[in-house]
Amino acid sequence: MIEIRDIHKTFGHNLVLKGVDLKVDKGEVVVIVGPSGSGKTTLLRCINFLERADAGEISIGDTHVAFRQATARQVSTIRKQTAMVFQNYNLFNNMTALGNVMEGLVTARKVPKKEAEAVSRAVLDQVGLADKCDAYPSQLSGGQQQRVGIARALALNPEVILFDEPTSALDPELVGEVLSVMKAVARKHITMVVVTHEMSFALEIASRVIFMDGGVVVEEGAPQEIFLRPKEERTRQFLRRILPETDYTI
């Protein structure tokens, strides 16, 4: 239901995406892993046009768009079907948690305020923040802010939610609460594309893991395949660096 073909993106002389294909079925949780600079985040940002890809096409639902030629209206159509959770939460600091979640519904989608508020309170309850509706971002912990960020995405009921390293900016003791909310989202069969370094999350929740390096997809498959029986040497090297050693000798 979401398909990307041959996406290319260059920053100056730096080729970041060198022809990536990605297909995600409804209800799938796709986790993208890879070393920093491999193009994972750029891929996500191109999907909802925060960056404009140089070449390639995207299909979401009934919308088919060539990245380069996309009109403002097409960009807006694609954005309406996607939602993004950011590494640095990016909450609107001038609005309460409830205001943050309602904003897309009321201002962008013209949902009546009462209806939007009911939906927003419900999703804030889902992420365990029913009692924080009236709190401003500055009054929330990093974990709570990110849960508001997830609620903001959920409220839009998009075809797919894109997660860009959602736990990387968090203190270690706050990572758990965010991951458990994400697991709950996954269990509702909401389509997710997640860029993360949380390998345990990938192993437990992902329907598919994609390993990217140097702007291309090196290998993809079920999490057990990728983590336990990687075929490519580059994947093995990456996993050796990122996974804890199984036996320690002192």
């Binding site: 950011f86 990016n90 001038n94 904003e103 897309g104 962008a108």
Partner: protein, 230 residues
């Protein structure tokens, strides 16, 4: 009856006559602030989006307005603008002097506000704009709902200082023959040969207004901050 350089009681005789011209001073301040803020916002956006040609023009304009004395600007506008328009067949020589005074202070205010707004808009983290686009807001909606409200709060202290400075700056409008508070001081002085009492009266009026402005802005800022944090 009046002897010596300074007679305190006379200040209070002059004060009502000065206050009767306060509406002229306030008209200049309020009009120039509102129009100047709008102009300043436009200039700030031109600079932020690096609009070709307009950006360079804005840089030159802002440097000029910030780098020349207001008296020079008053005379340039008063004599220069009609002269320029005369060349394209528009005659505004008979227009009220107050128009040129308000125009000058508006142009001056716009230049100073442009830099205040630009700094304030830039200080709102760009990630919030990205989040706004991601939930489907247009550029204009993002500016109006997310960026502008936060920038305004950041700019508020500078806007307060700017307003107080503009109030003081209007004291030069009399050089074009405007009878505002300062114009009235000079009118009284030329009729009575008593100068100091008028100046002291003007000082009392300007000081009172400045302190009121300072307190007012302080209160607005505190209210907004309390609403947003804790």
């Amino acid at each position: 009856m009046l002897n010596g350089l300074f007679d305190p009681a006379t200040v209070f005789i002059y004060l009502p006559r000065l206050l009767s011209k306060l509406p002229v001073t306030l008209l200049i301040v309020v009009t120039a602030t509102l129009l100047g803020a709008a102009g300043g916002m436009l200039l700030a956006l031109v600079r932020l989006f690096r609009t070709p040609v307009l950006n360079q023009a804005a840089v030159v304009y802002i440097s000029f307005m910030r780098g020349t004395p207001i008296v020079v600007q008053l005379f340039l506008v008063f004599y220069g603008v009609p002269w320029l328009l005369d060349h394209v067949g528009i005659d505004i020589n008979r227009w009220d002097k107050l128009f040129f005074v308000i125009l000058t202070y508006t142009l001056n205010t716009a230049a100073f506000k442009a830099e205040v707004f630009r700094a304030a808009l830039q200080s709102v983290p760009s990630g919030q704009a990205e989040a706004a686009y991601a939930v489907g807001l247009t550029r204009l909606q993002c500016f109006r709902r997310i960026i502008a409200p936060q920038a305004l709060l950041i700019a508020l202290p500078s806007l307060g200082t700017g307003l107080a400075a503009l109030l003081q700056d209007t004291s030069l409008a009399y050089t074009l023959g405007i009878i505002d508070v300062m114009g009235q001081v000079h009118a009284i002085a030329s009729g009575t040969n008593r100068m100091l009492e008028g100046y002291v009266g003007a000082a009392i009026i300007f000081l009172t207004l400045s302190v009121a402005l300072e307190k007012g802005f302080g209160r607005i800022e505190a209210n907004l901050l309390i609403k947003r944090h804790h």
